[in-house]
Symmetry: C2
């Protein structure tokens, strides 16, 4: 295997948010306000939502479709530090996969309503996974270089 | 946009684990033992690891490359419940993206050593993101249908 291997995905839905331009997107959804969004799951995948409504938080995996190219090291916008792309959440990644934990509000047929959006309106959805405290919650995790900078 | 759109990714590395067959993989890495793994980041991406060593936990996003096709609803192996694919972590997903939080042990040049592997040996790595308690830690999250079943 090498970097020439191709892995092909296709959207399972579209994420609708209040943010119609990159400059309007909050840094992270969980810190923001007025960041409700909704997802249209393409009807042929709607059956896959069965049981999701019982969770309070879900992972959205999506495509940074408006991000062009990537930089292996980048200057972080808040902290002005030079960090590797795998040590930050920047959209300019070798594989443009975004990941955000959002708060689930309601599912109505193939529509999912949530709060905590931090992606641009019209973002292609790749996957959804339930958030569980069993395997996703590490309160004692070390926040690494983020500890050394002001919030 | 629709499900005909193609999104093409390529591996940035390979994940090496003790599990050379699907039947040997533990249910979730964080519950297991003897599950140390290591990642070979392809050298051209190694610079992107700068700063990652300061975190204790990291997200690995990878390709379920040995998973064939998907089922929108599946019977969960432990609980024998019928659930939608987006409400479970099954590898048989419309887009075969796996996501596991692992514990970082050491980074040595383009090699990452970790514990908590739950993927098959030779798995293509798509992305790494740092885990931070700021945005990834929801101790009060509702575990949904998992609450109603024995561990």
């Amino acid at each position: 295997m090498n970097k020439e291997n191709k892995i092909v995905f296709s959207p399972v839905g579209v994420i609708h948010t209040p943010f119609d331009g990159k400059e309007k997107i909050p840094r992270q959804g969980c810190f923001g306000e007025n960041n409700d969004g909704w997802i249209e799951i393409f009807p042929e995948f709607a059956e896959g939502l069965n049981g999701l409504e019982s969770f309070s938080h879900i992972y959205l995996l999506f495509h940074f479709h408006q991000s062009q190219g990537y930089l292996l090291t980048q200057i972080t916008p808040r902290h002005h530090q030079i960090k590797g792309v795998f040590a930050i959440r920047s959209p300019r990644r070798p594989n443009g996969i975004g990941m955000t934990i959002v708060k689930l509000k309601k599912i109505d047929s193939n529509k999912i309503y949530f709060s905590g959006a931090d992606m641009i309106d019209g973002t292609p959805l790749l996957d959804i996974k339930p958030y569980t405290t069993e395997i996703d919650n590490y309160p004692d995790a070390d926040n690494g270089w983020l500890k050394t900078v002001a919030k």
